[in-house]
Point group: D2
Chain length 273, copies 4
Amino acid sequence: MNGKEKGSSVKTVPVKVGPWTIGGEKFTIIAGPCSIESYEHFLETAQAVKQRGAAMLRGGLFKLRTHPDSFQGLEAEGLDLAKRVLQEVQLPFFSEVTDPRQIGDLMDVVDVFQVGSRNMYNYSLLKELGQVSKPVLLKRSFSGTIKEWLLAAEYIAKAGNSQIILCERGIRTFETATRNTFDINAIAFIKQNSPFPILADPSHGTGKRSLVTPVALAATAAGADGLLLEVHPQPDQALSDGYQTLNFDEFENLVEKTKKLLPLLGRQLQEPL
Amino acid sequence: MNGKEKGSSVKTVPVKVGPWTIGGEKFTIIAGPCSIESYEHFLETAQAVKQRGAAMLRGGLFKLRTHPDSFQGLEAEGLDLAKRVLQEVQLPFFSEVTDPRQIGDLMDVVDVFQVGSRNMYNYSLLKELGQVSKPVLLKRSFSGTIKEWLLAAEYIAKAGNSQIILCERGIRTFETATRNTFDINAIAFIKQNSPFPILADPSHGTGKRSLVTPVALAATAAGADGLLLEVHPQPDQALSDGYQTLNFDEFENLVEKTKKLLPLLGRQLQEPL
Amino acid sequence: MNGKEKGSSVKTVPVKVGPWTIGGEKFTIIAGPCSIESYEHFLETAQAVKQRGAAMLRGGLFKLRTHPDSFQGLEAEGLDLAKRVLQEVQLPFFSEVTDPRQIGDLMDVVDVFQVGSRNMYNYSLLKELGQVSKPVLLKRSFSGTIKEWLLAAEYIAKAGNSQIILCERGIRTFETATRNTFDINAIAFIKQNSPFPILADPSHGTGKRSLVTPVALAATAAGADGLLLEVHPQPDQALSDGYQTLNFDEFENLVEKTKKLLPLLGRQLQEPL
Amino acid sequence: MNGKEKGSSVKTVPVKVGPWTIGGEKFTIIAGPCSIESYEHFLETAQAVKQRGAAMLRGGLFKLRTHPDSFQGLEAEGLDLAKRVLQEVQLPFFSEVTDPRQIGDLMDVVDVFQVGSRNMYNYSLLKELGQVSKPVLLKRSFSGTIKEWLLAAEYIAKAGNSQIILCERGIRTFETATRNTFDINAIAFIKQNSPFPILADPSHGTGKRSLVTPVALAATAAGADGLLLEVHPQPDQALSDGYQTLNFDEFENLVEKTKKLLPLLGRQLQEPL
């Protein structure tokens, strides 16, 4: 019961991240704040999600925001602070790179370079990430076809780096009741047609806190290899994306449900320790 | 683990169909051919899906096809044949009504009037169905917002019939790798915001046989109250929609997986007997 | 300068409407209220648009409204009133048919049966209109591809009526600054690939009064055979669609601009008499 | 007859480009190849379009291509060659910048930095262009709302550069008969609501050579301040985008039609000399 039909011919090739792999038998939960806001904030969140079952951390330093007056992340100033938290918490770390010139600085801090939805077509950035020695999480553009997404992955692979993890995060449609339309078909399609592991980001995929858990479970049932989740001690006070961010209790509840679902799919949760 | 977050305030009101209900604790699988092709074909399919766990039957008599030269269904000539199969198989029957003038004839045969995606905005038809004494399955238009869908339901309800069952069947987006984009968010949203039971149609929602099972499981995990599935003895020879239709083995496999998933969600399969 | 490139192989076949034709050298402006509200209202509007250059009238009797509590048109009660106005004003009349059972009544009043955007896929209705002896204006579904639109026209033609006029009225996209996205490409595409005349409806195509005139001129420059426009004595008090409806002065201004543009395109305005 | 309704309150602020301005009374045609292929190719094209009425040149050096194996432009190697052609032809030059690190090199060659559709959300690049002393042509993302587009412009303006020219080039919709859907509403909306001049790119906006001329005329009638056009000596042999590229005769024909239309709109063509 792994979400695959007979006849699917492509086997997922796991990608090594820190001490573990993504895309194998284990299912990976990556959690953390949308933006890292301060040392204390990131430490508290990181410890809380680790304690509740996240095997890896996420946290934005360089943010792409639609409005120029919105909080743009701590940027380079946040690098040290993130490093200190990571030494404390000891979990692999995902963070977004928005400009090729950040790669050097981030190299030191991240375990996985995250390419955000707005940069899936930034081939200049992708080519450069093809030359780094760490995995790349390639989010789907909210307007990208599956074909374009896989071609974007090829930009990275052709430049020399085949440690690629895909992430579905919802597409732009005519529907306005939700921020994006999470493309559940894409999860199943990628599992059957691409060797790259695929994560689900139901936070962006729905844009509504109350929908994150059911859609996370749906993506898991459809065969996703893990979840990328926004979690914050007090979502309503988050500097970005609070409306789609889980608090610690909601996150714990989601992890518990996922844990029960995984054995049915022949998988287990990757525990943080 | 029922796909609902704390705070969701709307409780589903089950709808009675034949001896059972849709939208309660039991999960309902409705299966059958896209189009009824002959007495033998419908009987074989009906018996096969009943034997494998479908509690209700579907089968198109009046079809809306994009191309005027495509098979348009057996139309009125199929009514008797359908009646004979139903007497044999004894399961509740869903069939599509495409014109208000068919209501009289269909009244005799169907347990649930199905309104297809192309007719969600056919308010003239909806108003008339508001006056019948049987439930209505209201499919979402492939271009309808959730808000418009619920307003379409209101057309039926205001005309006097509140036995309404919704069905998500995918929306039209820019993606072309799949026929439609199944809106998994909509399943979760409807569960939290509407009293009407909601089914998932992963056959149309994906348009690809290999994706039907993972997306069916996803929809179930997200909280759907049942599945509407296209099944055919030999999908490749179906007169319509064969590329998205399961054969008997694939259907059996899907039912087995669903059965295992349901207890985790606090539900059980509605058995056909 | 008729908006066609060398190599376009399909010539428009004009359709006769009342004493004139649509799709020939003359350019036709069809104007009137979204909904007919009363005898006085329709008479005033009809006289005003005739005086300012409309060669034909439009006015809704049977309306399809998203919300069941919205004004649904005068329906059958408006038929007589419309007939009286038409006797007075003596212009060809377009009105929407939303149910096959209205055809008999409308036959007496309309010169052209209008199929609204929500009914482009209502093949049951289209087949019936294939048997009437009057032209059909087939609006594009807001979610219909050009290919589906032409196949819908084929439903009418195959049933025996080839007096078909197409009308582009905007499609549903992710953009929310305007109600719909007027598909200007479709105007040019239809002129090059279909024999049916094509009108532009910039009222629905933009959903914003201030955009109606520039988009009307654009459609004319792209090769449209005429315009379908919503006009009302006091748009802000219209019972439907006021926000996209022109008042008499705005309409006059638009006609004047169109008149100047037409000779450049090798055409002239069809004068009302 | 300038495509504006009474009540539009925002006046376009012209942007100086070389010896002329864009967005004033004069209408500007910018033409050239999608990609610069060689010295001879660019020279021939530049001379041809200048002779036929283009006041400015376009030509890609750094290309963003969906497929990693497609021609990516001459890149840095083309800079000298472009400079030599420009010395010969003496027209202002637009070329795309795809990475902030190209700005220094391009500064020497271009008169206007072009930001392509895929980079409208590349705020890192936009902020940097906010610090240059030359105008920026900001193409709309094929999935960007008008609101997001204006906010992207604000990123440039807030960083210090308000010499911004917008360019509509079609959006991604469900329609597949054309490559994109040219958003004619956006032309009219921008004229009424933004101070930035707006160009139309009907080459990308339609993706079909035969539709370029009618849509160009439409955009002009709707109020666009100029056209950005792909022209090639032999479109069928172009290294990129040949199917939407005009040959010299087609270009000449389009210029002639535009010239006749402009006086009606109270404008004149900006002549190249």
